[in-house]
């Protein structure tokens, strides 16, 4: 696809010091031409309105910086939920040739394998509404959430933790927390290969010992939802979704275990980048060649954290089922809780992609971006293979979340990647200021949403106005042919840390 010229988007971009030309390819795709140190162009998926969100010029500078890294292939990509991150923007995708490219912890994020799990039930809205408040309260009691949350299961031994590092969600299934079918419907089967616990620090193990099965804090959540609208009936049927059906969505990652691993390797990579003569536009772009000893060790440690996160979400699914069965006095068969899919949106993976007709092995960094593999891809579960991979996009707690599907066009244009959520437009401090004097819990209640949060400030920090319009974000990727909508899910209840 070629892009016609446009001189200037707006003055903000000029003053941020990025190139004055932001070229529209169409109404949802823009390019920053490769100039100066950029090795490839930047490509941004957004509408003009989304590009006008506060802080976008700083974000586009980050897109430009990523494009300077060695071995980057085709584009430094930005999804429509893009917002400011550390070094790499959040909502960015960057693929590097394994032969001569780099790997960067900043391109994955602190919360390694932060991701989303969608559960379906055999319940409908009318089954749960009379017991909604009681159900949310039970979940709030039973699911450890909040700062320093721990204690879902007894403290894990070092040996158990090391097994989780390697086996991921399979560890949970093997210990009675789920079924093998859950692993088929989890990205990477719930475990990345190549995990090596010896690449993980003692401090990371100490942080991870009692956090499996916990929600944490911040923007992590558990939602009870209803399928409000189906856009693609065939795909929805394949995914097991129907209007009026009750679903649950979990958003969480690798907790302190993953944060520590990222922190440890940012230090390692900072020294390595200098040693390999890699000039960094920003210190948090610290990286080393993928095949270097440092690169290999980070990949091995990152895989440990990713697998921990999958075990975490598998355990949370088990705890949720227990809570629902108790509150609703149902049998497991009547509840019918099952996994639709589980995706990562902070991860780096070694993948095969075709680039300008040539097969390449790439290290694809998705930081706040979701995999969206198309039909017939061998990594899509057999049950979904004719449809394409389910893509799970959580919105803010007052609006909606979406189920979308991956496409062949995503494989061709974005290394099989799409957006991951709504994207913040306000910092937590700004959101708290806006929330002053307001009762956010009551405002959500007036929309029919029961909200519970451990932290006094959480609901203010996470208020809907702090985020972009998720409908607009998802709409961009649909119009671009990358990940069209399958269903909209409306929140009925939300639990946050």
């Amino acid at each position: 696809m070629t892009c016609e010229g446009l001189t200037t988007m707006n003055a903000d971009l000029d003053t941020a010091g990025i190139p004055p030309r932001l070229i529209p390819c169409n109404d949802v795709i823009w390019e920053i031409p490769a100039t100066g140190d950029m090795r490839v162009p930047g490509r941004i998926y957004a509408t003009k309105e989304l590009l006008s969100s506060p802080g976008q010029s700083d974000v586009l500078a980050q897109v430009r910086n990523v494009a300077t890294l060695p071995g980057i292939v085709r584009y430094s990509l930005a999804m429509p939920d893009i917002h400011f991150g550390y070094g790499f923007p959040i909502g960015g995708v960057a693929a590097f040739s394994v032969e001569d490219g780099v790997i960067s912890p900043g391109g994955v994020g602190y919360d390694i394998n932060c991701g989303v799990r969608l559960l379906a039930t055999d319940l409908h809205r009318e089954d749960i509404e009379p017991a909604l408040k009681r159900t949310i309260d039970q979940l709030f009691r039973d699911i450890p959430a909040g700062v320093g949350s721990s204690g879902a299961i007894q403290k894990l031994s070092r040996r158990q933790l090391e097994t989780i590092c390697v086996r991921g969600a399979a560890w949970a299934v093997e210990n009675g927390y789920g079924t093998p079918a859950d692993l088929e419907r989890t990205e990477a089967g719930g475990a990345l290969p190549g995990a090596d616990p010896s690449a993980v620090s003692e401090r990371a193990f100490a942080r991870g010992t009692d956090q499996v099965g916990t929600l944490g804090a911040g923007n992590h959540f558990l939602e009870v939802q209803v399928v409000e609208e189906i856009f693609d009936r065939e795909a929805a049927t394949a995914f097991g979704l129907a209007e009026g059906q009750i679903t649950l969505m979990i958003h969480v990652g690798s907790r302190g275990f993953g944060y520590q691993i990222c922190d440890d390797y940012l230090g390692v990579m900072g020294r390595a980048a200098a040693a390999y003569g890699i000039r960094l536009a920003d210190r948090q772009l610290a990286c080393s060649p993928v095949t270097s000893p440092e690169g290999r060790r980070y990949l091995a440690a990152m895989a440990c954290a990713a697998n921990y996160a999958w075990a975490n979400r598998q355990m949370l699914m088990h705890l949720i089922e227990k809570a629902l069965l108790r509150t609703l006095s149902l049998s497991p068969q009547a509840l019918g809780l099952r996994l639709v899919y589980d995706v990562a949106h902070n991860i780096a993976k070694i993948e095969q992609h075709t680039v300008e007709g040539k097969a390449m092995t790439l290290c694809v960094h998705r930081k706040g971006a979701t995999r969206a593999f198309g039909p017939q891809h061998p990594e899509v579960p057999a049950v979904y293979r004719s449809t394409g991979q389910p893509v799970l996009i959580p919105g803010d707690m007052g609006t909606a979340s979406f189920v979308c599907k991956g496409t062949r066009q995503a494989m061709e244009e974005t290394f099989g990647s799409t957006c991951h959520g709504a994207g913040r437009v306000m910092s937590r401090a700004q959101a708290l200021k806006r929330a002053r004097g307001r009762a956010i819990e009551r405002e959500l209640g007036e929309k029919g949403i029961v909200a519970r949060a451990q932290g006094r400030k959480t609901l203010g920090e996470e208020m809907p106005e702090a985020y972009k319009d998720v409908e607009a974000v998802v709409g961009v990727m649909g119009r671009a042919g990358i990940s069209p909508r399958v269903a909209r899910l409306r929140p009925l209840g939300v639990i946050k840390g």
Binding site: Y86, G87, Y110, V147, G148, R203, A206
Partner: protein, 128 residues
């Protein structure tokens, strides 16, 4: 966050207050335990980050909350060495409402500088 101090030691002390103030209301923390650690880095900026990271680790691994801090400078050729003493207590959920989960002390926009004699400034970004 932007931190100020009259000298580098006070700058680090104020940064430690800023860290723990994100986590808990410091007025609820009693000074009943003392923890001490040392840090040595190539420069003040890295020493600042390392100090905050070690303090955060005390919270994450032991549940230790600090409401008072003292920083003592140590000598060293071409390096910055400090001994940090923290006074506080372990988390008591009946009294301490934990407010913000700090994932890490980032390198992003990390800066220390002397703005004028007797005035130092630092910027730090916590990932929350």
């Amino acid at each position: 966050m932007e931190i100020k101090g009259r000298d580098p030691a006070e700058l680090l002390e104020h940064a430690l207050f800023a860290l723990f103030d994100q986590i808990v209301d410091l007025r609820t923390v009693r000074l009943v335990r003392r923890r001490t650690f040392s840090v040595r880095e190539a420069d003040l900026t890295l020493a600042l980050r390392h100090t905050l990271t070690e303090a955060l680790a005390l919270f994450n691994l032991e549940g230790f909350l600090a409401a008072a801090a003292g920083v003592r400078w140590e000598g060293g050729e071409g390096t910055v060495g400090v001994v940090v003493t923290l006074w506080g207590e372990n988390v008591d959920r009946s009294r301490h409402e934990l407010q913000t989960e700090i994932k890490a002390v980032t390198y992003h926009r990390l800066l220390t500088e002397q703005t004028e004699p007797g005035a130092w400034r630092a910027t730090i970004l916590f990932d929350v």
